[in-house]
Symmetry: C3
Subunit: 471 residues, 3 copies
């Protein structure tokens, strides 16, 4: 026995009819607006060379840490899901076997955003109308595998079908950005820009940091034996990234700490960082100081800063040793902003032409710290709910906890922040529906007028992201 | 094109019809109860001399940090809003220009409590029926400016029109309370009482502390060269404040820390505090010990203690230097109560005749710490949602997170805590509506009977505040 | 005048009709499922000897810390409630006087779970149809006192009436488990199992620890002068408990900290612990290391671990001195899991056959730490909302904050965790209603299909608890 797969037109709207009717009307006004994706992790090579995706497992399961972390938590080994090992030892290579294993555990995703995104992909992109479960695994596999080689399912065709106006990828300063150049030179109309993510050359605890630093000097053509040269290397690479369309930088640090060290101190610290190894405290201080330097450069070159702090990366050493980083073992930690950001804000918080977008995985900061900070400092804006909180309840908590203090206009629309290309429209659709639902409740409770809600729905969907990211 | 301004009679009630109908009935029973305002920051001179308010900008914008922090966050300088500078350098002086600037940014307040309060003031006090925006700025200015000089808009007339039974102001121990005396001697019927806020003479990090301490000895007529004399000075000033109607003290500390030092230690610490300067740790310890001394005095003289902890004041040094304190740059920080209050509670927590009202800006403490503490210690009560949380969502979170452990009867009704006199009825009205909405949900979900909800609505509006503050 | 007491069939369901209708249907499918109570504090002697309960006060008030903490917070002395003193000095002995005092304060429980549980007991068990208040106190007392001696109100009859399939008690390793033996030998059909709670012999700060340790060696028949012998004593007692039906251990530590010390270090620490006294840091480290040892033993013997961290026990020293422990003065504190559990997880987190169930009183950990951890590590599951959060709003927050990251299948159904035997069905009923309400909202918002919701309602009520606790 199979079950139907249906995407209800009212999904995610509030249950009470008064609010739902308003939400429907608001959503009708924004559902077809173009997708602006200012921060994410798609592969620019897809758009550069427009090759078909490999197979259903490789497309939808193997690279999706939301998916395999849930299966892993219930006893499914990553080997069986085809996740590659560090030492190259064998893992499952039959995509159909991987797909069947996934299908038989699909009930684990009930109530999760992955379920919403995947069902949307199945129904909307592949036209499937029965639910994924063990009994339908092969049907799914066959339908998807048959579609992928066809022209309509190539990256550029999907880009157009999704109504993407612009998408940003994220690259290391060491990246030559040749895929972005290939896109530009191809004459294709799609806008794919990069973003400057300097962690590999700014975080002394990044794997391979020492080698990265040497290459950084080489690609930037700067003598990085002094801190001044190191800063010039950043300036050079930032300019190179801006030429490839970048309007933003991105910083994924363990904490939100910033520092503003006197020249002699940072020079000495940089010397230790360069010769290595450094203590965790020194690494933290270097990253902290560098955020302030990045803000200084942003004031000069106009790039928008994004700060994504507060994750204990690779919490599971056995998994790290066998499968490497980014395998679903990253766990959020308590994250403070008020003291942490002060050194940076003391110098640049009042800059009207600087935009720093703050993210958090510690929702306790929303109402206590982030909304009060963003509701005061001209340089600060609040990014949308991130990672584990990129979900209906996470979005609801975000709006409920930040709006009263920061307002809507200190937020910046939605980020999909994903490498799961096919799910991008689904993710934006969830955000649009949840924002419309939140606005609808305000209207239903007579806290906002309907004409204002329509204006806000459009702002949250389209206007604010373009303004904040200078797109 | 203008838009209508309407205050819907069902505003802030739950959207589902079942709960809304119950909320309407509950609200009908409390909407006209007198306003009891046990803690706030209005100027007693208004009521003493009953002079008209100056102009729309001076009344509604220039002193309201909720308003100018939001505009500042979006790039509007405080100079353009007429906020006075520390060095007396010029800022905007044309109230109409300030008003127009405010009006053109009024959309920033969508979804915020300021919008609810201001719309109420515009509609209910000034009878305006079109929305504030750039196009209606002059109409607003003219209507308000014309009304202010008339007798109906003087402080005492508004006090009566608002149905205020009692209002408390907040003064320093150094204050001679001459405005309160003038009120009493005027024969006017309005009850305006003071509250004892000793931070300027109890917090070694308060600006001007050294001078304040000298004046404290003088106004109290005590030799404060010993700690015993310093305590006697507090006792004297508390008695003076009680004679001016005060029933409460108020303490705005960076943390909730308390201490109970042995006599020799506090004597030595006081000597260092008096000679100054002290370390931050010494200042913190002195404040901590003094909270326990304040509790001891409250046991003796019956004054209710209010503790308002957990703010990083003046987070923005550039703004502090140019415009001074209280300019919208105060940011909440994580605040613990369980260990912090223990020294005080060890001595006085079981006193049935002592009332200590706890506030927080760290909502994580509601369910984890504050409700369990207040649901046990006879001396503790929970103050209403404070400052950034004095808002519909903040009130909802407060009731949802404290009621199940502390019940309703360990809370103390509403505080408006404002200097924005005209908004006081709007603030109390929001609290009444949100409390009725919360009770209505309990009734609709059959967790409470309707007769009990009516009794509770009255208790939350009127009975509990009078009992807790001994009014 | 009295008021009716009614248990509405729709109680606790969402207020909007769309969700409510779905909740009703889901609840109809689970309301009569057997009660599986895998963790609690009932007295096995009740089931062993089936004696009648003493009187209404002794049954419902004197041992219930939820009840007397609320009355105490409002100025009612524990003496007047008949709570026994440490020194044996007199307290109230007239159960009717105690009952009247309770009745006259029953309004304090409005909006609390105690009110829900007690009203259910009054209406469902004793058939009372008027509300408890001063005027009905004697009626209540008479009805309950008359019922208690009758056969239908004896423990075993109630066990059957409640539909209990299994109940777990909690005992110290020092307990001879003679009541459990008596139950087995009586031939009665009821399943009453124990659980291994080693805090008295594992927490150096436990009152009487030194003497407990000596007795521990005696009852286990092991020489505990070495750490190896101490571990063997645990292994022996765990085997003894398993023979009495235990499938789980339980650990009530001040924090979630774990450690994995090298042999020489733990041997030296154990020597200090055994000779005593130890510093708080040493006590913490010993508990921390022992959690990892307990995990090691659980891998070997299959017992499920429960960790209940994060309470400041006996916060009120005056109350502790006069009335002893567990008198309503336990207060939650901030509790971190990510760093705290790492040493244990580094060794055993990837074990698929180990189950560690985590509880918290710090709800900020739900979305930030616990759901991400349980959504990754095969060994981890999340226990239901605990203690102060075992309430409608607490349950709602739990599902809203953990489901999107951990899913439903990393949770383990409901724990009543109570010694209040009569309230057990009421507590499970609240959980079933709230879970059905949560699922109903997902269905109403088209985030879940109705057939899946029915399957999940059954899983949350019955299947998951049996699987997680291996019952």
């Amino acid at each position: 026995m199979t079950h139907p797969l249906r995407l209800h037109p009212d999904r995610l709207f509030p249950a009470d009819e008064r609010s739902r009717a308003i939400a429907r009307a608001l959503y009708a006004g924004v559902k077809d607006l173009p997708i602006v994706s200012p921060h994410g992790h798609t592969d620019p090579a897809w758009f550069a060379y427009d090759q078909p995706f490999a197979d259903p497992a490789e497309l939808l399961i193997v690279p999706d840490h939301y998916v395999f972390r849930m299966l892993y938590s219930q006893g499914v080994g990553l080997e069986a899901l085809g996740v590659p090992t560090v030492d190259g030892s064998a893992t499952e290579t039959d995509p159909r076997a991987i797909w069947r294993l996934f299908a038989s555990h699909y009930h684990l995703f009930r109530g999760t955003p992955s379920r919403l995104w995947l069902d949307w992909v199945f129904a909307e992109i592949f036209g499937i109308d029965i639910r994924l479960e063990a009994a339908t695994a092969d049907h799914y596999y066959d339908v998807i595998a048959a579609a992928l080689p066809t022209p309509a399912f190539r990256p550029r065709a999907l880009f157009d079908r999704f109504g993407i106006e612009l998408i940003a990828t994220t690259e290391s300063p060491l990246d030559p950005l040749e895929h972005h150049r290939a896109i530009r030179e191809s004459g294709w109309h799609g806008r794919v820009v990069t973003a400057y993510r300097p962690d590999p050359v700014m975080d002394p605890e990044h794997p391979g940091f020492a080698g990265n630093l040497i290459r950084f000097g080489e690609v930037a053509g700067e003598d990085i034996s002094t801190f001044a040269g190191y800063l010039r290397a950043h300036e050079n690479r930032r300019a190179f990234f801006r030429a490839a369309g970048a309007t933003s930088t991105d910083h994924g640090h363990p904490s939100a700490r910033t520092a503003d060290l006197p020249p002699a101190e940072i020079e000495a610290l940089y010397a230790r960082v360069r010769s290595g190894p450094v203590t965790p405290a020194e690494a933290e201080l270097f990253r902290a100081h560098m955020l302030t330097e990045m803000a200084r450069m942003s004031v000069a070159d106009g790039m928008v800063m994004q700060i994504h702090p507060g994750v204990h990366r690779s919490h599971n050493p056995a998994l790290l040793g066998r499968f490497g980083r980014d395998k679903g073992a990253d766990i959020p930690v308590p994250t403070g902003y008020v003291e942490a950001l002060k050194p940076l804000l003391d110098r640049f918080g009042n800059e009207r032409d600087l935009t720093i977008i703050l993210f958090t995985l510690d929702e306790t900061a929303y109402a206590r710290e982030l909304a009060p900070l963003a509701g005061h400092y001209p340089a600060l804006r609040l990014g949308p709910p991130w990672w584990f909180h990129d979900s209906p309840e996470g979005m609801r908590r975000f709006r409920e906890q930040v709006t009263e203090t920061a307002g809507f206009y200190n937020t910046v629309g939605f980020n999909d922040d994903t490498r799961a290309f096919l799910s991008i429209p689904a993710r934006h659709d969830v955000a649009r529906r949840m924002d419309c639902g939140f606005l609808a409740r305000l209207v239903a409770e007579h806290r906002l007028e309907e004409d204002e809600a329509h204006e806000l729905a459009r702002a949250l969907t389209y206007d604010l992201v373009k303004k904040a990211y200078r797109l």
